[in-house]
């Protein structure tokens, strides 16, 4: 097992390094113009420069702040809404069409409406990130709370458990894995909402930087925030994935 793991790491690393080398070669040998595709070395130099000048850390902090607000809000609202819908069937039936409408819609279409309501900049971007993230949290929390083992519920009830006991001691633990999956999906979607919001009408942040340097066709500077955004997506999803795996192991 351990040897297999090392082998997988080695191959995975080779894949990443190989892609970077190919990119560098294409640009370095001028097969594709570096003006268009930049190159890992040019990009790294630009990234170091931007980092030292303080632009990159400032934009990163700005986007992370927006992410924290949007994701935090989506967690609170999504968990509460999912829980409320699971205990009140009438509420669930009434909200169902709205939730599925939002689930199937390319939510970005709401951007101009949010712009009108909240104005340019942070509030619109956070609202978009929130909207992208809240839907999977609601759906997964609700589905998770509903799928508790019927036998367990009956057993607990026959031992005199109150509805509150049933919810706290059986439904919530049963819902945990699916809820965490919802949170993990929400991370990627939240970042998408934030980046798109910043691309379209941000005043700062990584998406704004991509847009800004993209307009000037400064590909070296443009790729640094782009790669950072992609890495952020990987990193945050990994964190949630690790928590998810932990909870599954704890549950057995």
């Amino acid at each position: 097992m351990r040897r297999g793991r090392a082998e997988a790491w080695l191959y995975g690393l080779a894949g990443v390094v190989g892609c970077l080398a190919l990119w560098e070669a294409l640009a370095g040998l001028n097969i594709v113009s570096p003006v268009l595709i930049s190159s890992p070395s040019l990009m790294a130099a630009a990234a170091v420069q931007e980092w030292q000048a303080g632009a990159l850390p400032a934009n990163l902090a700005y986007s992370l702040g927006e992410f924290a607000l949007a994701f935090g809000g989506a967690c609170i609202v999504g968990l509460l809404a999912g829980a409320a819908m699971s205990v009140m069937p009438w509420l669930e039936s009434s909200l169902d069409p709205f939730v599925w409408f939002l689930y199937a819609t390319p939510l970005i279409a709401f951007y101009p409406l949010f712009l009108l309501w909240f104005g340019v900049g942070r509030p619109t971007v956070v609202a978009l990130g929130f909207l992208f993230a809240v839907i999977p949290v609601i759906i997964n929390t609700l589905t998770g709370l509903r799928q508790a083992d019927a036998v367990l519920l009956r057993a607990a009830r026959s031992f005199g458990a109150t509805p509150r006991d049933l919810f706290v001691k059986i439904r919530v633990p049963a819902a945990l894995p699916l809820t965490l999956t919802g949170l993990r999906l929400a991370v990627g979607r939240c970042l998408t909402g934030i980046v798109v919001g910043e691309l379209f009408g941000g005043t700062a942040g990584l998406g704004f930087a991509i847009h800004y340097y993209g307009d000037q066709l400064d590909t070296n500077r443009m790729f640094a925030p782009l790669i950072l955004v992609l890495l952020l997506g990987v990193l945050l999803t990994q964190v949630l994935g690790a928590i998810e795996e932990r909870s599954q192991r704890w549950r057995g």
Binding site: E7, Y11, G12, S93, L142, G207, V229, L230
Partner: protein, 262 residues
């Protein structure tokens, strides 16, 4: 993420509650829009949204732009299937290829890939092609990953059976691997449908000369709220119908396979 299971209330009671909720929502919206005065600019009203929609349908703007968005969506999706399925097969069938590239593909699945749209515009110019490329990029990843899973889940006994009856690698591919992976592939395509539409629309909204996304931005910037809301509903309806169609196709393929196994 599957459709919610029915609760203690029956199906018809659920449907009635849903209809009632939508009706109440529309009534409140209409009332708010009618009495809001100038603030109606922010929320529109259902009656005016319908009127705006009829106007947009009447002057052919929706049809023309939906055609363009549809072409970008379809082009991106078809390309994603044509590229994604062979890649998924390679990843699923060859262990070394999988170990080399799977981490990259999985990593990309978790990232906000829409961030590359300005790059695509720089490379391909502001064009339908750049929007189709955005649709393709977003759509191809679930196709690759689900095809791979489908291939890996194939029972090796079947492969050995074909081989022991003298089947070639070609037979194994055509008779076992490809049909066996089809249901998982369909799941990948279903996920790709929503992402391709998102890619095309975001691409159009970012900078574009035509398409529903561009129309949304134009009416949004002009503060024509009712037109804007109708367009949002149009895109939402398209997303919903495409998802339903993809789910139907997925279920059909799953049923066909179940039948073929029995």
């Amino acid at each position: 993420m599957e459709t919610a299971v029915l609760g203690p209330v029956g199906r018809s009671a659920r449907r009635r509650a849903a209809l009632l909720a939508v009706a109440v929502f529309l009534a409140l919206w209409q009332a708010a829009g009618s009495f809001a005065g100038t603030a109606a600019l922010y929320i529109g009203s259902p009656a005016k949204v319908v009127a705006a929609g009829l106007a947009l349908l009447g002057n052919g703007q929706i049809a023309a732009n939906a055609g363009i968005t549809g072409a970008e969506f379809l082009g991106g999706l078809v390309l994603a299937v044509l590229v994604g399925v062979p890649l998924g097969v390679a990843l699923g069938r060859y262990r070394r290829v999988r170990m080399t590239f799977e981490p990259l593909v999985i990593a990309l699945y978790a990232t906000p890939l829409v961030a590359v749209i300005p790059v695509l515009d720089a490379w391909l110019g502001v064009s339908g092609g750049a929007n189709a490329a955005a649709a393709f990029l977003l759509a191809v990843i679930p196709v690759v990953l689900n095809t791979e899973t489908g291939i890996r889940d194939i029972d090796p006994v079947w492969v050995r059976a074909v081989q022991s009856f003298g089947g070639t690698e070609r037979d194994v591919f055509l008779k076992v691997v490809l049909p066996g992976a089809l249901p998982a592939e369909m799941t990948g395509i279903r996920l790709a449908v929503g992402r391709a539409l998102l890619g095309a629309i975001v691409g159009e909204m970012y900078v574009s000369e035509a398409g529903l996304g561009q129309l949304i931005m134009t009416y949004g910037q002009a503060n024509r709220t009712n037109h804007l809301i109708f367009l949002v509903f149009t895109v939402a309806a398209a997303g919903y119908l495409l998802t339903v169609a993809a789910r139907w196709a997925e279920a059909r393929v799953a049923r066909w396979r179940q039948g073929a196994l029995e």
